[in-house]
Symmetry: C2
Subunit: 451 residues, 2 copies
């Protein structure tokens, strides 16, 4: 392809990478106070960089880490909002990095360093895409509005508050997010569905303090056993959630989805080996990908109560706690499912203990119509940028900011990720393929052109 934009991207690749390294050298660890100044400096670096490209850019301070907002008009009246985050995960475990996390290093065409894939490297494809369009075509095809937050890795809500407050001036034809993954190293993908989530904890309280299991065993309910019985009443041994009406609002998988997932030839044995489990497990009647991407779950994230030391201690625990999350799929409503789960837990809990339930965050599932023109355009843009066919996938996880955009702006969100789960996004030796960086930049430019 002798596209001028793509040629520009190829010609300037070395400089792009040097600039990305500068971006990555700033230790913008949002979870650690000692990096507060670095985090702000990183936001300012982004502002300066985008100003250098001719954007109107500045920091928005509404509590929490600053948000970078940068906009530049284009030839059409359409507007694409590109989301990303400039903050990164902590560097732990430091000792396991082969090269220092904040000294980006290239080995065999792979860029190593904190933020390489999550999300500095991915967001930088869009910066370089707009630069390439501006330098070769003299302007942007449509208006581009960048919003970069600094709290994605530390669970802040500044961006959600800002989007909610400023939703009228943020209206866009589409939101583009590159903070996800391809299906595999050779298969670029658009993620058209995300699971939602509800989180809660159930605390079963028995005796006022741990009591002797000899003196009282058999006389009083054991909170750990009661909790086990409650949990066992929530999920069958066959993996079916037993909460009444739990599945009522689930949108069934369509035939094209089941066929499309099947074509991906997901390898159950490889996953079992990767996780080091004897066999996979889940709801019967669904393939593994169907279960991971399109079926809701009831998971115990943690359980604790009583003695945890060596050997044994003869007590009846005073209490036992289960941390619970349910993954949700369209069209399950988090508030309704949370009520159903809580009501079920209450209904199966005996009156011999006291039950406390605490609710934590929730995020709705999202499911985009793959026939939406922006999503079709993205499919074509990625095909061009990567010279490979793009597949439609879903994601078992939740990206709360996507729900925020859907709810507040009412527009489709194009999830075009260029990373891989194996890039180690939160671990040591985080990395990003420079080939994906180059192809992603091309795809990002093509998408703006097609808008």
């Amino acid at each position: 392809m002798t596209d001028r934009v793509e040629a520009y991207i190829d010609e300037n690749q070395d400089r792009f990478i040097e600039e990305l390294k500068q971006f990555m050298r700033i230790p913008s660890v949002s979870a650690q106070e000692k990096h507060d100044a670095d985090t702000r400096a990183c936001a300012q670096w982004v502002v300066d960089h985008l100003k250098g490209l001719g954007f109107q850019a500045g920091l928005i301070d509404i509590g929490g880490k600053p948000i970078v907002r940068a906009a530049k008009k284009g030839k059409s009246s359409k507007r694409v909002l590109i989301y990303g985050h400039y903050d990164v995960q902590p560097e732990d475990p430091v000792g396991e990095w082969k090269t220092p996390p904040f000294e980006p290093t290239i080995r065999d065409g792979i860029l190593y360093g904190r933020g390489a894939t999550d999300d500095k490297g991915q967001v930088f494809t869009h910066f370089k895409a707009v630069e390439s369009l501006l330098k070769t075509e003299g302007g942007l095809p449509c208006e581009v509005l960048f919003l970069l937050e600094g709290e994605e890795e530390s669970g802040g809500d500044a961006l959600a508050r800002y989007v909610s407050q400023a939703k009228d001036e943020l209206k866009a034809d589409a939101v583009v997010v590159s903070d996800s993954t391809m299906y595999d190293a050779n298969t670029p993908a658009i993620t058209y569905g995300l699971r939602g989530i509800i989180a809660l904890e159930a605390i079963v309280r028995g005796p006022a303090s741990d009591v002797h299991s000899g003196a009282y065993g058999g006389g009083v309910a054991n909170p750990a056993m009661v909790l086990a019985q409650i949990l066992a009443a929530c999920v069958s041994r066959e993996g079916k959630v037993l909460v009444p009406h739990f599945y009522d609002d689930v949108v069934p998988l369509q035939d094209w989805e089941r066929q499309s997932f099947r074509k991906l030839n997901f390898n159950d044995g490889a996953l079992a080996k990767e996780l080091n489990v004897p066999h996979l497990h889940g709801e019967s009647g669904y393939s593994t990908l169907e279960r991971l991407w399109a079926r809701p779950t009831f998971e115990v994230n943690g359980i604790f109560g009583g003695y945890q030391g060596q050997r044994s201690k003869t007590i009846i625990p005073a209490s036992a706690t289960a941390k619970i999350t349910c993954r949700l799929v369209s069209n399950q409503d988090p508030a309704r499912v949370r009520d159903l789960v809580i009501e079920h837990i209450r209904s199966v809990c005996p009156n011999t203990v006291r039950l406390e339930i605490n609710e934590f965050g929730a995020s709705p599932p999202v499911l985009f119509d793959v026939n939406n023109p922006m999503i079709r355009a993205a499919q074509e843009a990625i095909r061009k940028g990567f010279s490979r066919d793009t597949v439609f996938i879903r994601c078992g996880g939740s990206i709360p900011v996507v729900s925020t955009f859907v709810e507040q702006l009412g527009c489709p969100v194009v999830l075009m990720g260029f990373g891989l789960d194996s890039d180690g996004p939160h671990g040591p030796n985080e990395h990003f393929s420079l080939d994906s960086f180059r192809r992603g930049t091309k795809a990002a430019a093509q998408l703006l052109r097609m808008t």
Copy 2:
């Protein structure tokens, strides 16, 4: 009663208490290395004290803390072995003591200090009983053999090893143990049954490490949920143990026992209030005392796996562990019940996880014939010493040393306790009623007389 022995006990009470205070001032905390010298000094104090009473006494060192062995022949050829322990619990929580734990203090007829009831105060009744008999009757009615260990509070096995090695020279007509309680402050008791115990842990292992519940939830078994399902398959919501053949060897309660327990007018509401639970709970068809004293149990002593922090964390835990103990009653065999429990857990565990079971200690249940002459004699001795009727009770806990004596010496063990659960034996402000001390000393003397 103008019994010379009892008169001697009354006349010398003040000195007895001063001597007991000396005994209690030695911080013989066997669990703490810093008190190793104190613990040995305490053993030596006991040896010296009993030598002063004319006993042949010395320390036996076979690894672990020394055992005090002291013997003196009597008029008859019968022999009573009196067991006790000279070590005490640590003083924690130090800040909650009203007077220092190792500075014995009397307030309102109650002696406060570490070891007051467990077991220095109780064992001292026997020292003063033999002194009183020697001083008033010129000799002991039967041979008395004291064995005091220094590892009761730290779980050592020196005494068990010694009894097993020396069982032929330790043969006795009865073992007397005063390391238990009365039924209540006004009701002295003989404990004729103890529950046994088996201890184990079940570890359910899933993914090699905690994994993201979004990425993998629904695809792989959740070890915490599997553990909950396993536990729920072990005990019904009605409190019945579901392990096949678990109850096969249980000796049913006899009519006299059910009647006798009923006469104690146990107050369920008071226990619920004391434990701060809405209602008591246990196997249907049995009263609370029957369940606590004469029915086996399956208890979860601790459960843990995955996230235990604040709010939520979206992981599937790599593993989950349950600490389990079963209380056993005659004639359940610990080895057989342990096999049944392990077999059941294995049989209900799915093949999607790996199961590890670790076995810890076990102790058989004991049940003495209340018509045994020594137990009847003890009943009468306590009636005399306390001027009150004695009741026969059982104990829900286990006293492994009792099983050791039963197994190795084959003689009855008389459990005549003078303490109360409310004496705070392992907590702050441990105490012992001086009235019980005096009456207990008289009962101990009467028992030797009746042997």
